[in-house]
């Protein structure tokens, strides 16, 4: 027999999971029905989008698999020509609305996450630089941020999208559209991260641990990344969560306006744009289901962000 204990040694350092489960955050989470429901919805939708090929009935992005005759089939009713039945009906091109939503959500989420990540990275870098160094770097970065704040974010995104579309060759436009969207939304969103990071950095950089680090001769970039950054991450995390919801909606808005994802690879916004044309003629499902999905996705992420803000900063309650 070895001396391995049969029960885990409770005196040893608790595992990461244990620590997470014991944390205040998880306690607050378990006590908040809103947080639990919204995270369940968000995680459910994200999983369905990520594993869309398993959940979807057809692949709506494969034009060869579509049958136009299936077009405009109402939900749960057999099509008049082909006799096929679709759980959420079909759109004008005969695409199964349910499958198209799953694939469309993939694009919406991918664009949302990537755009926020881009904005976070850019905002943190610029905010740290502005807050830590101060002086002309601070003035320059923050005035640029002020200028950008005078324009509505969606306008900035449209401007960036328009310029990028103009300079990309037409053959690559469809493939590039997604990346251009990410760039456009990300660039229109970095300011709030930069401002928060700068503010927090201004406070942190005068604390003793920063002075201590400086004293032992650590470089500025190392101090910013290893010492200051971990201490200012929680407000960034909160804004990022709320920004995610906003980025998803921004993507939907751009696509709704026809400047986002191409119609052959629809995102939720493109689907809503298509469906909007058939609202008067009674084909409500083309608009209704994608709109509900967008609502559920944006609302759940948003509520989660709100809860996270409250939980991390009880003073705001």
């Amino acid at each position: 027999m070895t001396d391995q204990p049969l029960v885990p040694d409770t005196k040893a350092a608790p595992s990461r999971l244990r620590r997470a489960l014991d944390s205040d955050l998880f306690y607050a989470f378990r006590r908040s029905p809103v947080a639990m429901i919204s995270s369940a919805v968000a995680v459910g939708l994200i999983l369905m989008a990520v594993f869309a090929p398993f959940f979807a009935v057809t692949n709506p992005f494969d034009p060869a698999s579509l049958n136009l005759m299936n077009g405009f089939t109402p939900p749960m009713e057999p099509n008049a020509f082909t006799g096929e039945t679709f759980f959420m009906g079909t759109d004008d091109q005969g695409r199964d609305v349910y499958s198209t939503i799953l694939y469309g959500m993939r694009i919406s989420l991918f664009v949302g996450f990537s755009a926020v990540l881009f904005a976070v990275v850019l905002g943190i870098i610029l905010g740290l630089l502005a807050g830590y160094y101060g002086g002309w770097a601070d003035s320059f970065i923050m005035r640029a941020a002020d200028v950008q704040l005078t324009f509505p974010a969606i306008l900035v995104a449209m401007l960036i999208f328009g310029i990028a579309k103009g300079i990309t060759p037409v053959e690559h436009r469809d493939q590039m559209a997604i990346w251009v969207l990410i760039l456009a939304i990300g660039l229109s969103d970095w300011v709030q991260f930069a401002r928060v990071v700068r503010g927090a950095t201004l406070v942190e950089k005068n604390k003793d641990y920063v002075s201590a680090a400086r004293l032992i001769g650590r470089g500025s970039s190392l101090i910013m990344i290893r010492h200051i950054l971990p201490n200012i991450l929680s407000p960034v995390l909160v804004i990022a969560t709320i920004s995610l919801a906003l980025a998803i909606i921004a993507e939907a808005t751009l696509s709704f306006l026809g400047v986002g994802a191409p119609p052959t690879q629809p995102s939720l916004g493109t689907l809503i744009r298509v469906g909007q044309g058939y609202l008067f003629s009674g084909e409500w499902w083309i608009l209704f289901f994608p709109a509900c999905t967008l609502l559920a996705l944006a609302l759940s992420v948003n509520l989660l962000g709100d809860w996270l803000r409250d939980a991390l900063n009880p003073r705001l309650k």
């Binding site: 034009p63 077009g71 119609p263 008067f280 003629s281």
Partner: protein, 526 residues
């Protein structure tokens, strides 16, 4: 007390005159006129707006019959078969008060023959236009041209003096992006004057009280407010809410909804317009495809396979909701030269199409960009999207680029697209018009809308001879033989003939015109 009653009387008087005279036609459609220059673009909606303010020598009524307009009568010269004599209407004034005379007609024809003119194909048989006195002109052609009057129904007359004074003697270079005084200003003889114009936003016109036909036509509309609304749902919402009372480009999905609404109706007629795809077969290599050093569209088997992949019945049933007639040739049934046999030659057979692709060496397919307008034809973008799916089934990956017509059309006329959608209406009701614009090899004054790169000298000679062929039987035989080549070469992929729907409020009275050209002077307002 007395003062009050006077005010009331004035108010009553004003309101009663308002009821009698002020009838505003609030008119919406998908797109705007591309320009107001009378000769710069030969395009339906552009002509439609011009027709309210400018006039040609002759127009057609809703049945397609000629109606004397600025010319009162016309006939071939009995002594010289190459000459047509037109007698002009006397006492006609332009909007600025200048008299309309033969000099203006000569000027307008010469202007329309300029290189930048988009009307030159229609009158390229004319060698000279002579004024005989103030109210007669002679049009001399390079041979007898029996159908010349058919080509003049969209050829608008301008005032020579006004054009010279405003530096618009030359036709605007539309493709080059030029803007001239005539692009946004009008001095015509028509029943309506231009009040204001904001391109793509709003154009306002008022009744011309000095119009020569003031007593001949109903002219019950005193003001026209023309607003392009690209979005189909918004367009219908505008009609349903009463914001507009006349709607062209009715979305087919909303016909029933509008027709059943109180106070609204839909009028329908088959349209003189065919929708089709063009393919660049002339280039050695295409810009828009992924095949290097070769042009897949140059192979007639590929073009035939693409046509066979298109399921026209499905497009009719689903995209057009029955509001179209599948086409096998690019001529509407109104046109001399159209035959039911040729119009039935399109068939759908995906397996055979795949086999032909394999035979042509493209069994694995290729990818290509399709250029498509999104504010011109009924459900244009949806048709293109459907074609993307259908061509995908024979291995052709299509990247769709749907853009407004103002950017789309120059791509065709400048040869910057390899695969495109186009619609064609035939105001002359004769195949020669189609051949001149779409089949004849592209030259400076002919074949300008032929984006296929197809150029066959023998066929071109035959097309050119049509204008002066007075033996109608022989001419029709030539037309049939030219069509045979167009069909066998699969020069274009015909999709369908449009059915026209106009939505309007009950008090607007008009018949539907097969050319989709409403002329407001005929409108009644109950």
């Amino acid at each position: 007390m007395k003062k009050t009653s006077t005010i009331l009387a004035i108010a009553a008087l004003m309101s009663s005159t308002a009821v009698v005279n002020a009838e505003t036609l609030r008119w919406a459609r998908a797109g705007d006129a591309l320009t107001l220059d009378p000769h710069a673009q030969n395009e339906g909606p552009t002509h439609t707006v011009r027709h309210q303010m400018y006039e040609p020598l002759i127009i057609r009524d809703v049945t397609g019959a000629f109606v004397p307009t600025l010319a009162t009568d016309w006939a071939p010269d009995p002594e010289n078969p190459n000459v047509w004599v037109f007698n002009l209407r006397e006492g006609v004034k332009f909007h600025d008060g200048a008299d309309f005379t033969a000099e203006d007609v000569v000027f307008s024809f010469e202007r329309a023959k300029q290189p930048n003119s988009d009307m030159k194909e229609l009158i390229n048989s004319i060698v000279e236009v002579r004024a005989v006195g103030d109210y007669q002109v002679e049009l001399e052609t390079n041979g007898p041209n029996p159908i010349l009057p058919s080509n003049l129904t969209n050829l608008f007359m301008m005032d020579k003096g006004w054009s010279e004074a405003n530096d618009t003697v030359n036709v605007q270079d539309f493709e080059g992006g030029e803007i001239t005084y005539a692009t946004t200003n009008v001095n015509g003889t028509g029943a309506y004057r231009l009040v204001s114009r904001e391109p793509d936003v709003k154009t306002v016109m008022v009744r011309n009280e000095e119009y020569w036909g003031r007593d001949e036509f109903p002219l019950e509309v005193s003001e026209i407010i023309y607003t392009p609304i690209q979005n189909a749902a918004t367009r219908v919402a505008a009609l349903l809410s009463g914001e507009v009372n006349f709607l062209q480009d009715m979305p087919v999905q909303d016909l029933a909804r509008v027709d059943s609404a109180d106070g609204l109706m839909v009028k329908q007629a088959p349209q003189n317009r065919v929708i089709f795809f063009g393919m660049n077969q002339g280039a050695d290599d295409l810009e828009a495809d992924n095949v290097d050093g070769k042009n897949p569209l140059a192979d007639v088997r590929v073009r035939k396979a693409m046509s066979m992949a298109i399921n026209r019945d499905a497009i009719r049933q689903v995209v057009m909701r029955g509001q179209s007639q599948p086409a096998g040739m690019i001529a509407p049934p109104f046109v001399n030269g159209w035959t039911a046999d040729m119009d039935g030659e399109s068939s759908t057979d995906v397996e055979a199409a795949k086999a032909m692709m394999a035979e042509a060496g493209y069994g694995d397919g290729f990818s290509i960009r399709l250029d498509c307008p999104n504010d011109r034809y009924i459900n244009d973008e949806a048709i293109c999207q459907a074609a993307v799916g259908m061509l995908g089934q024979i291995g052709i990956t299509v990247n769709l680029d749907a853009i407004p017509k103002a950017q789309h059309f120059p791509k065709i006329t400048e040869g910057k697209t390899d695969f495109y959608m186009l619609g064609w209406g035939v105001p002359t009701y004769d195949s020669e018009y189609i051949f001149n614009f779409l089949v004849h090899g592209r030259e400076s004054d002919i074949g300008t809308w032929n984006g296929t790169g197809f150029d066959n000298d023998d066929l071109d000679a035959k097309i050119e001879s049509l204008a002066s062929n007075t033996d109608l039987d022989a001419r029709n035989a030539d037309i049939a033989s030219i069509w045979r080549v167009v069909q066998d070469e699969q020069l274009y992929i015909p999709i369908h003939h449009q059915v026209l729907n106009w939505g309007m409020s009950d008090n607007v009275g008009t018949e539907v015109d097969a050319e989709d050209q409403p002329r407001v002077k005929y409108f009644t307002m109950k």
